[in-house]
């Protein structure tokens, strides 16, 4: 059996403490121990992005992140995006653009899009596509997902332009 280790971290703004097995991933910890099933287990090997979460403002595949490494981090998951103020801009754009079909990739896609927009609010279509390269969707063909992210990006550009005036 694996050794256990205590971790304390911030999960969507709430301090969370628990003991994890050292071979656990952040994903199984979130899903199986903390009832945060928004991040999906789809490949378990970092190749599809369905488990994308944001850790200390950086997007990662939760399936590859060792659970002990959660200690001291600030973790954001899809659940945290809408609690409080309703759907985030990215989430709302996904709904309106029809970027969701089966929805299994959606939480990871939304988190990665959120990360990209935080890093670089104004992006080109090609930059959005490169940024989503690690997120596989089998339903949509990506057009509507990219359109949703581009809309939020354009809004950011409009705001920048207005601020400059």
């Amino acid at each position: 059996m694996s050794a256990m280790v205590d971790v304390t971290f911030t999960l969507n703004g709430h301090t969370t403490s628990l003991a994890v097995a050292v071979h656990d991933s952040a994903l199984t910890t979130l899903r199986d121990r903390l009832d945060h099933a928004g991040a999906k287990l789809a490949c378990g090997e970092g190749e599809c992005g369905a488990c994308t979460i944001i850790v200390d403002d950086i997007s990662v595949n939760a399936c590859l992140m060792p659970a002990p490494d959660l200690d001291g981090r600030i973790v954001r998951t899809v659940e945290g995006l809408w609690e409080g103020d309703g759907l985030s801009k990215v989430q709302d754009a996904f709904v309106r653009h029809g970027a969701v079909q089966c929805g299994f990739c959606t939480p990871g896609m939304v988190m990665q899009a959120t990360h990209l927009l935080e890093q670089q609010p104004e992006m080109s279509d090609a930059e959005v596509r490169r940024g989503l390269e690690g997120n596989t969707c089998r339903c949509t063909g990506y057009s509507k997902i990219v359109a949703a992210v581009m809309e939020v990006s354009r809004d950011a550009a409009t705001k920048t332009a207005e601020a400059a005036e």
């Binding site: 090997e45 995006l81 989430q91 057009s143």
Partner: protein, 773 residues
């Protein structure tokens, strides 16, 4: 109160009903579910592809702490699943392919399951193996199933007209072979099920199935229970695309473990297991021989195909129900013959996959058509138009092509893409020293657009009730699997009953509540479930308007439902609020009535007879695609630059949903053409990981220009036709033909991987060089 205008909901851009819940991460898929005291299950699979099982010893596994049950064939009913019932969920006597299930464990954790699997000892006696269909058909080949000594699992044959006469008329006869490969669904949510058995032995199965009602009948015998004691609930599913159109061993195994342990049991595949174990698209080797007049008119077509059936028979063996229609009936040709043999081998077996049967047939036929055009020196568009089917044609198999527009699809795709100019220009560059070469290709196909009557019924039921507040609850037999039938039904309700979509509650995906439906397949759900919903809504509307008429003394014909009110049809003048009317109808003493209606819609299609003749679908449609590519002639890498899609969709119900189906379908088709292949070596999957099995990613997807041809299908709900499969079917040969247009090298066997293309171009160069010397 002001007059209320009629609101057009059907045909307008509406968002998917469950999208907000999905973006919020609030939706629980089967993969996410747990039940109190739930156990986890895992399956021990064989490590060889053809062997007799001499013994299975599970005693050490059973003794492991935390293990609650270990089952083998010895503990379970002797009944096979699948189309020919040739696949026992647990194998007791022999194994026939790498997926084969030997034993299954239920334990407290997945880790304990893994440990227990390692403690099971199996002794085998290896048998001779066979992987290729030609070898399996040869005299003295290893026999996979003893009751089928010729290894032929299924035979499909059709003939019409006079092949010899067709040959006699032909000036040009051309024959070629097209082998299409194994691909797999890559559903983002891996296969998962959860079974729960109550104190009285009744089973609830949380399943990803696409055909819940037939599944009850298919799975019950392998569980030794009555189908009536089985309730199937379909929680949201992470993609299905046909992968869930049969019973596969994981589901009976999961139930059997739940029966054994009297605890809920969940069985979830790892991604690697998903690649190795879940069904594939049916691989097929086609030989097409056809003839034409000097002018290029087709005179005959003879198709012979072998399906690599693998170790067991699932829906893959039945794909000729669709591929045969394309093979005999796409383009006008009177003298046709089609033979398909599904041949047992020691490979994994195939199921159904979006575009079922037709992806394969269209690759072969549309490649073949391009080759034929070249023989008579015609461009690919003219040649196709010359041979196109037309409105009112009845195909050799009896399909009535009413309300179709194949020529319109081809012409539109060609014109929108400026096809002919580009195609002509590219021909001159084959031998140029340019490394990057541009190509353009076209393809089209025919598909059922109004279901497919392959069962006794192709119908769907709807029950509808309205409450005292003007809200409607619709209980449909249809399954929502991400495709958006929930939204389509809500649109139809909204339109017919004059209420906002938000006031529609859908109850579905549960056999205990829903009336019967044949399942999600054959591009049928909008057409058939939508039609049933519409008919139910109209019955409710009629009941409401009759009551309103009694109260208002206005004829029901002059009344309408809009904006939550009964209104005057002519000017929208409100007569009374709908909710108040419903309450008055309800609380009316002895005259009380609730608005509660039901409908079962059976489409006017017919099953094929024993001679494979019949008008199997209530509607048909076509699509044509043009693909423009750039080929790196050194690395062989293909970039798809742009796609033009022209599709006959009947009337559009939800443009957002339709665009999503076309874009998503094309993405799967591009993968089929260029990158996806489940590589097998001696029956064993070599690349069971996304890193080696490439589905399309965002940067690889080209812009897609869509044109919808709205033919008038009178039978479908508001004229709609099924549309989700054609995009996957048509794009692949368009890409193949574009690569030919760019390079002068014809690739008959997808996928057109960089290596295959680089090698083909390199060999062409060597040949040219040799010829020049």
């Amino acid at each position: 109160m002001d007059p209320i205008e009629k609101k057009e909901i059907v045909g307008s851009r509406v968002t998917k009903l469950d999208a907000p819940e999905k973006v919020a991460g609030r939706v629980r898929y089967v993969n996410d579910m747990t039940l109190p005291r739930m156990l986890y299950a895992k399956v021990l699979r064989t490590d060889r592809v053809h062997a007799n099982i001499l013994s299975i010893d599970t005693s050490k596994a059973k003794a492991l702490p935390g293990v609650h049950a270990v089952i083998t064939a010895a503990d379970t009913p002797k009944f096979g699943i699948g189309v020919l019932k040739d696949n026992p969920p647990l194998k007791g006597d022999k194994v026939r392919c790498i997926r084969d299930e030997i034993a299954a464990v239920a334990a407290d954790t997945e880790e304990i399951c893994d440990a227990a699997l390692r403690l099971i000892e199996v002794e085998y006696e290896d048998l001779p193996t066979v992987f290729e269909t030609v070898d399996a058909l040869a005299e003295g080949a290893p026999v996979i199933h003893e009751d089928r000594p010729d290894n032929i699992a299924m035979l499909h044959e059709f003939k019409a007209g006079d092949l010899e006469a067709g040959e006699a008329q032909a000036v040009h006869i051309f024959e070629d072979e097209y082998d299409v490969h194994y691909v797999t669904h890559c559903n983002m949510g891996a296969s998962c099920c959860l079974a729960d058995v109550d104190t009285d032995g009744r089973v609830t199965l949380y399943s990803q199935t696409q055909y819940p009602f037939i599944m009850k009948m298919d799975i019950a015998p392998s569980l030794g229970i009555h189908p009536g004691d089985l309730r199937i609930i379909q929680p949201p599913v992470g993609g299905a695309f046909g992968a869930k159109l049969d019973v596969y061993p994981n589901e009976p195994i999961c139930v059997l473990l739940a029966m054994e342990t009297r605890r809920p049991v969940k069985l979830l595949y790892s991604r690697e297991e998903e690649f190795i174990v879940s069904p594939t698209r049916q691989p097929v080797e086609f030989k097409i021989r056809s003839g034409m007049t000097a002018e290029g008119k087709l005179t005959f077509r003879d198709v012979d195909s072998r399906l690599n059936n693998g170790g067991y028979t699932s829906w893959g063996a039945t794909t000729p129900y669709v591929s045969m229609r394309t093979g005999t009936s796409h383009y006008k040709v009177d003298n046709v013959s089609y033979r398909a043999r599904a041949v047992y081998t020691n490979n994994p077996f195939a199921g159904s996959f979006r575009g079922y049967g037709n992806v394969q047939a269209t690759w072969a036929l549309e490649t073949h058509m391009d080759q034929m055009a070249e023989i008579v020196d015609q461009d690919p568009v003219a040649f196709r138009l010359l041979n196109s089917n037309e409105q009112g044609d009845v195909t050799p198999q009896g399909a009535k092509l009413n309300n179709i527009d194949l020529k319109g699809c081809i012409t539109t795709a060609a014109e929108e893409s400026d096809f002919l100019k580009k195609w002509q220009a590219n021909l001159g560059q084959w031998d140029s020293p340019e490394r990057f070469k541009r190509g353009i290709g076209i393809a089209s196909s025919l598909h059922n657009a109004g279901g497919a009557k392959i069962h006794k019924s192709d119908g769907c039921g709807t029950m509808l009730k309205m409450d005292d507040y003007g809200r409607v609850t619709v209980i449909t037999g249809a399954s929502e699997i991400g495709q958006g039938i929930d939204t389509v039904i809500a649109q139809i309700m909204s339109e017919e009953l004059g209420i906002p979509m938000r006031d529609v509650t859908l109850v579905m995906n549960d056999t205990a509540t829903g009336p019967w439906d044949v399942g999600v397949h054959a591009s049928r759900t909008t057409y058939i479930a939508g039609k049933s919903a519409q008919r139910a809504a109209r019955k409710a509307r009629e009941q409401i308007l009759a009551a309103a008429s009694r109260q208002s003394n206005v004829s029901p014909d002059e009344l309408d439902l809009r904006g939550g009110h009964v209104v005057q049809m002519k000017d929208g003048e409100p007569v009374m609020p709908l909710d108040r009317l419903l309450r008055q109808m309800h609380f009316a003493g002895e005259d009380a009535e609730l608005v509660m209606v039901s409908d079962y819609y059976e489409p006017p299609s017919e099953p094929e007879d024993e001679n494979r003749y019949g008008d199997m679908s209530a509607s048909y449609s076509h699509a044509a695609h043009v693909a423009e590519v750039v080929v790196d002639t050194m690395t062989g890498e293909v970039k798809v630059e742009q796609i033009w899609s022209a599709q006959d969709v009947g009337k559009v119900v939800n443009p957002v949903g339709l665009e999503g189906q076309i874009e998503g379908g094309i993405a799967v088709g591009i993968g089929y053409a260029l990158s996806e292949e489940l590589q097998l070596k001696d029956g064993i999957v070599q690349n069971p990981f996304f890193r080696d099995y490439h589905v399309m990613t965002a940067p690889e997807m080209p812009p897609i220009h869509m044109t919808w041809l709205e033919t008038n299908d009178e039978e479908g709900p508001l004229g709609a036709k099924g549309a989700a499969e054609l995009p996957t079917i048509v794009i692949a040969p368009a890409i193949g033909n574009a690569v030919y247009n760019a390079t002068g090298v014809r690739f008959n066997h997808p996928p057109l991987t960089p290596e295959k293309i680089a090698r083909g171009i390199w060999e062409r160069k060597q040949q040219m060089r040799a010829a020049a010397e």
